[in-house]
Amino acid sequence: MLDVEDLSVFYGDAQALDGVSLSIEQGEIVAIVGANGAGKTSLIRTIGGMHRPTKGKIRFKGVDITGWPSYRVCDLGVGQVAEGRQIFPNMSVLENLEMGAMLPRARKLKARNLEHIYGLFPRLKERAGQFAGTLSGGEQQMLAIGRCLMGAPELVMFDEPSLGLAPAIVQNMLAIIRTLNQDGLTCMLVEQNVAVSLRLARHGYVLENGRIMLKGGGEELLADDRVRQAYLGL
């Protein structure tokens, strides 16, 4: 579904990604793990069209989307849930969700998707009229996911969905991602929380200093000595 080939990205002189290649099949969960500054967010931003790569190709559903602006990438079905729950704090919960459905592909599906999201996150329905900035951290993360789903995406890139959430809520969040995946959504999970995300994913990639250092099955990577030493402290 998504094929990234030899992707290199620079911010000025600083290289954020160096020849990254990866592929995601329809219907799977793929984890990209790595430490702070490894290039995880750069990868999402580049695939999402918010940053132009200097080299390499990105293909989604067979379409070359390299260098496309983000609104076109979104409209093709690539959604992203940004790091740190980027919601619109002074807009109501409902307005936040409506913002997600502005894409041409999602406009007609708005009512149905809203119903679906309220079913998934009843809390958002209860708070529909409230300013999004007044929600708790976990609720804001739900809203960020809900807004993304309003765009009727086929692939969602999650940037650190567990960041800054209480452990119980992290479990809840992962359960939601699993449910969405079972309903047919392809997920790319970008995480510092290596143990949790590799357990959830079918495939994983380990990103270090902008390069893919390791790749393999989720459980396989978890058993790998290098991963255990570097990320799990075992």
């Binding site: 602006p69 983000s70 919601i87 619109f88 409506e98 502005m102 807004r147 993304c148 765009g151």
Partner: protein, 335 residues
Amino acid sequence: MIARVIESASPRALALLAVVTAALLIAPYLVDSYVLSVLIIVLYFAYVGQAWNLMLGFAGQLSLGHALFVSLGAYTSAALFIKFGVPPVIGIFAAIAMAVVAGCLIGYLGFRFSIRGVYFALLTIAFAEFTGIIVDHISWLGASSGLFLPVKNQQSNDLLNLRGSPTMFYYVILALTGFAFALCSWLLNSKLGLYWQAIREDQEAAEASGVPLFRYKMIAVAISSGLTGIGGVWYAFYYNNLFPETMFKTSQSVEIILGSVVGGVGTLFGPILGAFVLTPLGEILTAATDGMHLDGVKSFFWGFCVAAIVLFRPQGLWPWIYDVLGLAPKKEGKR
């Protein structure tokens, strides 16, 4: 649209709005010519403040160069009138076009190359200042000695040529202010307004949600600069003289934005309220210190006002007054 606004407003707010509107409509018959001249300036700043507010308050793009759009509108319509006899009612379209083209050029450079925030503001200042220098050297436009409109026929009001009494200019700027207010209130409640708000609140998140940032920021700049250019046409025909060294100056741009900052950036009534508070105070101060050789006392006072607002009411006066007067409708409203 009007029905919806009326529906969503509280009775008290509607009553207040009706009283203020009525007072403004009959004002020229109640006040003397000096007060009328102050009211005219107040409305002018309310109008251009509203236009500027659309860019920062609605779409989150700070411009400190709106004097450029006033000046382009003023010079374009004045030059067409003086040199070719084109009446302002037609010249206004050329004026709007000039202002919008300049706005879009600045917007293109800024947004295409991701120049944001303060750096974008610097770009707007630079354009205003260097356009001023260029105009300063065009003798066809009067260069530094200024461009003057012929003053005659003052006894009868000629709306098409914008020649007439202060009362006529008062009603023209009142109509413009009303128009800008209605336009902004409609835009704010449209899809466009929602997009702008998203960009203002979190540009990254808006982009990630699929908002075409470049397009919607350009639309904001185009509308704002076009509206401001219309203000420039009015300015030229009201004042009858244009000097590059004052027209294009950053101090002019700052005067345009002060009302909105004091009244409340991002609100519909803020720019109007701010103009009604600041301009008369400035006039009173100028009159009170007349002959005391206190040059710049008005600027000093305005600086003081802005500092006070930033310290005590950073949201501006309007949101505060809105609460104090209990203008909020019963059901939860936005502003």
